[in-house]
Symmetry: C2
Subunit: 264 residues, 2 copies
């Protein structure tokens, strides 16, 4: 724990982000006072894990905590913020795609606390290497968030709402879209009863290489060589799935475009 004082924290939401973040705060020595979730089971499960209180009734959310962390689905966030009086407490959300403006006129002290990572409930996460992107409505709150973030991560960055929406977009493409490529690969392997684990080493090395160097320099394969023989062969093999076939075509054309235009 840094020089930061021990904070009392209430979690609004008990999904993947809340689960990992609350555990990290707990381990860093902060006091998670309560977990709220609209779903009783989710609230109780996370609260039990943290050995703390829970509620699924907005009227019973504790008042006067140092920090309120809202980790709700994007489409519920705004409505929820408008329904609660946070008094003088500092309230933050953890959403990449929502601006700080969601709090304007609805809270006194507010900000954003966005951990740039993909979270799954059952998988352990080490926050130390995860960038925490913070933004606050004034410099005092910024210091509080910076210290809180530094308690759990070695990578704390000030990112404004305009930058953050592009960062979130980039993260969706780098994470969710890459993962979809893995999914399509697994479907292709299933056609020949080949196990997905054959690709494990390749997938890891690709990610390591791109992040150690730069992906544009690291690109290999038939499209970057503009090897139309192999591309045509692959399109033929994909006749079993018009959707994967179309996607193969679109992505290959885009690789050729990017690397032939020399735009980077």
């Amino acid at each position: 724990m840094t020089t930061n004082k021990r904070l009392t924290i209430v979690f609004i939401g008990a999904g993947n982000v809340a689960t990992h973040l609350s555990a990290a705060f707990f381990i860093a020595g902060h006091n998670v006072l309560q977990v709220f979730s609209r779903t009783k089971e989710s609230a109780k499960q996370l609260a039990d894990h943290l050995n703390t209180a829970w509620t699924n009734d907005t009227a019973k959310i504790l008042v006067g905590a140092d920090v309120y962390v809202i980790s709700l689905p994007d489409n519920c966030l705004s409505e929820f913020v408008g329904a609660i009086d946070f008094g003088n407490s500092l309230v933050v959300h953890t959403a990449g795609s929502i601006g700080i403006k969601v709090f304007m006129g609805r809270a006194e002290n507010y900000g954003v606390f966005y951990p740039l990572q993909t979270f799954s409930k059952l998988r352990q996460i080490d926050f130390k290497n995860i960038p925490i992107c913070i933004e606050a409505n004034n410099s005092g709150n910024e210091i509080i968030l910076k210290n809180l973030a530094a308690d759990i991560s070695d990578h704390v960055i000030k990112i404004n709402s305009d930058q953050r929406q592009y960062l979130h977009l980039a993260a969706v493409i780098a994470c969710n879209f890459s993962n979809h490529m893995y999914s399509l690969s697994s479907i292709i392997l299933e056609q020949k009863n080949l196990p997905f684990r054959l690709l494990k080493s390749l997938i890891r090395e690709t990610a390591m290489k791109a992040s150690d160097y730069h992906p544009v320099e690291a690109q290999t394969g038939p499209a970057v060589r503009n090897d139309q023989n192999v591309i045509k062969k692959h399109l033929d093999l994909l006749s079993f799935s018009p959707e994967i076939r179309q996607l193969y075509d679109v992505v290959s054309q885009d690789i050729i475009r990017l690397h032939q235009s020399g735009s980077t």
Copy 2:
């Protein structure tokens, strides 16, 4: 080294695969007799690295080696195989997308030795975890290739040519297409002068998670939630690049298709 005897090996080609594979054979105790490349500089560079002989003249390729490993671009491979007399030696190629048939009627003893990985010259590779996919024209040659593969890798698999072309297709999608997603992310970050290294931890965790579990189960993000608000917001942000915008749309629709159809 396994019970395999020390083999004499000639490399035909001096590209990324030949560079890494020849070094691995060298370290495993085999005798790389010569490197051939059509480009003098490439032949000399790799040969110097292995402290062995080189040539860029097909007429000077040494005869009578135990094994010839052909690592040439797919479009030169067939022509090259037809131009050389391999006598009784065992000749293999390392191409994922080319069948064993390329050797039929042109060699007595032949096979395929396909390491399933993405190779870059300047990056160290540990072969131990790389699947080596082997195929041979008879069981005697299969044993030789199995032993040779086991000298450098703990994952040796017999894969026939039909399976291998699907495996290669899956590898292109899992590796090259994922890497293209990273490239597009880097271009988006550049729009706001954000460094690509912000995504390093996310990219690695995504690859680890998908390969530890299964990518279809590991999927997260707006598309798998069918969150049209975020998808629309992202499409708006991408107005600066019609090509990335189209790709975002196609991949998001395909994620929705895959996860809503429950086809896996």
